[in-house]
Assembly symmetry: C2
């Protein structure tokens, strides 16, 4: 099978991206330390048209050479905002009637496989996921503020995935619901 050329991939420009309809999903990064991980989240968010990334606390913001190395320009297409305090980011989203889910292994958390966002309900107006620091995870006080916890079922020795990979899995599940629903209409 022949690999597609860049031209054949029908990539859209940054201007077309800005004008396109986005998925109603905001990614909240709660004190992410690695610029590599932040850049990778930008790149995945570009691929699936995420509405915005909220960079909180110690999470670095563009412009940054290190973020650019993994984002490869996606930091210019995807909208982002900085919040010194993650709690304020969550509050802002909830005031806009967004359902905010912490991605954490909690007592009674919803498995990602059971999560079904509803794009036709009057409420919530959209969704947000909170991704935690590489070592500490999402702060317990932020978890308490969220509307629920989403968990990725795991079967290994670690029970923890890289934060950029985890974000990718949740965005992917959301995108499948969103774009498949779109093609059914």
């Amino acid at each position: 099978m022949k690999k597609l050329t860049m031209l054949e991939m029908e990539r859209i420009s940054t201007e077309e991206f800005k004008a396109s309809t986005k998925m109603p999903l905001v990614i909240v990064l709660d004190n992410i330390r690695s610029l590599n991980n932040i850049g990778s989240v930008f790149r995945t968010s570009d691929a699936f048209r995420v509405e915005a990334i909220y960079l909180c606390g110690i999470s670095a913001t563009p412009p940054s050479l290190e973020i650019h190395k993994t984002a490869l320009g996606a930091e210019d297409s995807v909208d982002w905002q900085y919040f010194a305090d993650t709690h304020e980011a969550v509050r802002t989203l909830q005031q806009r009637d967004y359902q905010v889910m912490a991605i954490e292994q909690c007592q009674g958390s919803t498995m990602l496989t059971d999560w079904k966002p509803d794009f036709h309900a009057a409420s919530p107006k959209g969704y947000a996921i909170v991704m935690g620091n590489e070592v500490k995870g999402v702060q317990q006080s932020v978890v308490d503020q969220c509307d629920g916890c989403l968990e990725i079922p795991q079967y290994g020795t670690k029970h923890s995935l890289n934060v950029a990979v985890t974000t990718g899995l949740v965005i992917w599940e959301f995108a499948k619901e969103y774009f498949e629903g779109e093609s059914r209409e």
Copy 2:
């Protein structure tokens, strides 16, 4: 909601992992440059009980401090093998009746959402996915050797995802089929 403690996560030991039944899935890394990406693939493979990782060409192998930093010990639980030549890795798998899919955007590639591995068929005995170099992707000659191409549908300006994220998405889709099938029986 209360975050689970390490103890409550019921993580298994490296010995228990070695003895556990694995998913019939081998990850072939075709000249992956970043140790960070290799470490992350080990960690995801541990989480979902991947059979083995085949490290090919310039892909570094454990023990490596840099791989350890992202694998966090998963390089000790997940089986791996080194092949100087990716073609040889693919040939070995096909001789064992494994279906080998390149993860690439190709003419006529199968969308990941349409891929349904069959765990009850007499053939293939298992599956393998080939992940390409960060810049060049999977070598065209390796693509030619594979049994097909799997593609992740994308909607952004880049049409490329980080290789560790992409590997995560494919492993996740495979694991959903595998573990959900298991719980249905």
